[in-house]
Subunit: 366 residues, 2 copies
């Protein structure tokens, strides 16, 4: 892996992250391909949106279809016909948020499968092994996510365990072409976050992520953690803010120097009929769009906006036609990728402050 930063504008930066399956322009937004597909769309449509890297969920893919099926195909890329880079999460967050009867010990986590109730063990070594089967370009360390709210003592103890697990992940990792990123934990305590970051830097990773946010805390608290810790992260390594977020969160993240994001918001909101535009969110189910012949966003060049009216999309979505969810997803993915491309261009031209000003002055974010 090589990470070359081509321009800095304030704390914001733009560059290229060179990975095994190709280069990724940063700041980058990764669509989430939970179960080996970005929900409702094909790899061709993900590519057409401008996405250069996507995220795969180790937890979900471990349960379905299971490592043997992925291994038989060679890797996750070939299984799902995606020829660009993939980042896999470690499963830590999903074990914490989705699994039943969780039993966390120093060795790892035993939980009941939400699919068939069977007992499954996932620890640092198992996560690294599964991510090696998926053979992603970037693997993440297996960590424990801290709930919100939680006492300082508990947050500290959990963070320290995550750091011991990070060391075990580093030691277990032996996939030469695959990068490994550490994850900063420590709940809402900046001093714990700083200790966590230093521990990770001491171990040494290819990149560093901020985890354990967007877990129910107020938005301002989340942003204050990001604003405090990001400037302390190694300047020459990619910085990844996990599970974030809305367009305004992406802009705020880039402002303080974040390089990578992932979130289900564009795809999940699309399936709820919430469509992003430069002039605000279009809730396509609304009856006011019944006869609206305009595209979702007349400045958008996605397939959906080029060929279909709001009235047609509203008809499909209210009639529960699957094509509607897909066309909405195509648009939202395109919106998020264009936002990232616009930010990269603004940073390159040293006009990011003006971009931010204009962005937050727009009707969407007033």
């Amino acid at each position: 892996m090589r990470f070359s930063i081509s321009a800095n504008d304030g704390a914001a930066r733009t560059g290229l992250l060179h990975l095994r399956h190709g280069s990724v322009a940063t700041p980058a937004f990764m669509p989430v391909g939970t179960l080996g597909s970005v929900k409702t769309v094909s790899p061709i449509e993900v590519r057409a949106s401008g996405a250069q890297i996507l995220l795969g969920n180790t937890f979900h893919l471990m349960l379905r279809p299971g490592p043997d099926v992925i291994r038989a195909h060679g890797n996750l890329n070939r299984f799902m016909d995606w020829d660009r880079p993939i980042l896999t999460d470690s499963g830590g967050f999903q074990v914490w948020s989705l699994a039943n009867s969780r039993d966390v010990e120093e060795a790892g986590v035993t939980f009941r499968s939400p699919i068939d109730g069977s007992s499954i063990f996932l620890g640092p070594e198992e996560s690294i092994s599964m991510q090696s089967v998926l053979d992603s370009d970037i693997a993440m360390v297996f960590d424990e996510c801290t709930a919100y709210p939680v006492s300082r003592d508990k947050a500290g103890a959990s963070m320290e365990r995550s750091m011991r697990w990070a060391r075990r992940c580093r030691d277990a990792h032996n996939n030469a072409g695959q990068c490994l990123f550490g994850i900063v934990q420590g709940g809402m305590h900046v001093d714990l976050r700083e200790i966590s970051l230093q521990s990770l830097v001491d171990i040494g990773f290819d990149g560093y992520a901020i985890g354990g946010l967007s877990v129910g805390e107020p938005k301002d608290l989340m942003l204050s953690i990001v604003e405090s810790i990001t400037p302390q992260m190694p300047v020459k390594c990619p910085r990844y803010l996990m599970g974030v977020g809305k367009p305004e969160d992406l802009v705020r993240g880039v402002m303080v120097g974040i390089d990578m994001f992932d979130c289900v918001i564009p795809t999940r909101n699309a399936r709820n009929g919430w469509l992003y535009t430069r002039s605000g969110i279009v809730k396509i189910r609304n009856s006011k769009y019944r006869m609206d012949l305009r595209p979702i966003d007349d400045s958008c060049v996605c397939l959906t906006c080029e060929r279909f009216s709001r009235a047609y999309l509203r008809h499909l979505v209210t009639s529960n036609e699957m094509l509607g969810l897909r066309l909405c997803t195509v648009h939202n993915l395109h919106y998020f990728q264009r936002l990232m491309a616009d930010m990269r261009e603004a940073i390159q031209k040293m006009k990011f402050s003006a971009f931010v000003q204009e962005f937050f002055d727009s009707p969407t974010h007033r």
Copy 2:
């Protein structure tokens, strides 16, 4: 409309049906675009399957989105971004099969909307008017479908009413660029079917359809009606067997001189994970496909077979990922269109008997 037959091989024939939005090679299979989309796929994918004409449902589109929305877009083609020919059914069959509290009188049918329970009236003039709003290339007369089983008297009375309605449709029709097809009724009684056909020919239509089949009767009875009535239909006009069918039904229909078919089987079965291949149906949910790296059908050149394994499709379908239903639909649509193309080629080469022999000798149809 112009219908030019380029070859006859026995009773089977192949030719070109020239319509407002383009030419259709016959025998043709029309995918069903119920609500302004062929379920799960985009117009681009329908086109790529080889389909040259699709069917739109007047009944469904009248209820949702309603005629005013279609009219605002110009026509159904522009509403759904399909630039090739469309045939619309009249709504007669859906009123009969889907509507609640049906009250059939000489004027037409009053029924409760399955969407919101409101009272709606649909008669011959209303159907023709709605089909003119949809502005399809081919409109169908509004008819009454006869149940199975039913007494000869009832079948006769129902057929006679359908013929009076056919006359009213002909009189009401005033869309110059749109063809109008009559529909032969008469239940399972060949003599009633013959009377019906003569009535339609006396009125004069651009093409003739066989309706009221596939309503619960044994398959052999259905085929015997088709085999009896088709040879009596005007030789120079397109002959359309409505709502049929499985691949073997299409072959049997072409054998006796049918030119057009429509059916939800390829799309509905795809959404159930039943995939057509030359060597039989692949039920993709079956656990035996869990590790199967082969495409659905290695002789198929559809997008699905070119890029994805059975194991991947099984994973998507069993995980309820929408992409799976779409990839299955792409394949089945392609299979049906290839079957039609193969039949057209065999007829053109005067080798249709050999084609039929080989088809029914294959594992699928033994």
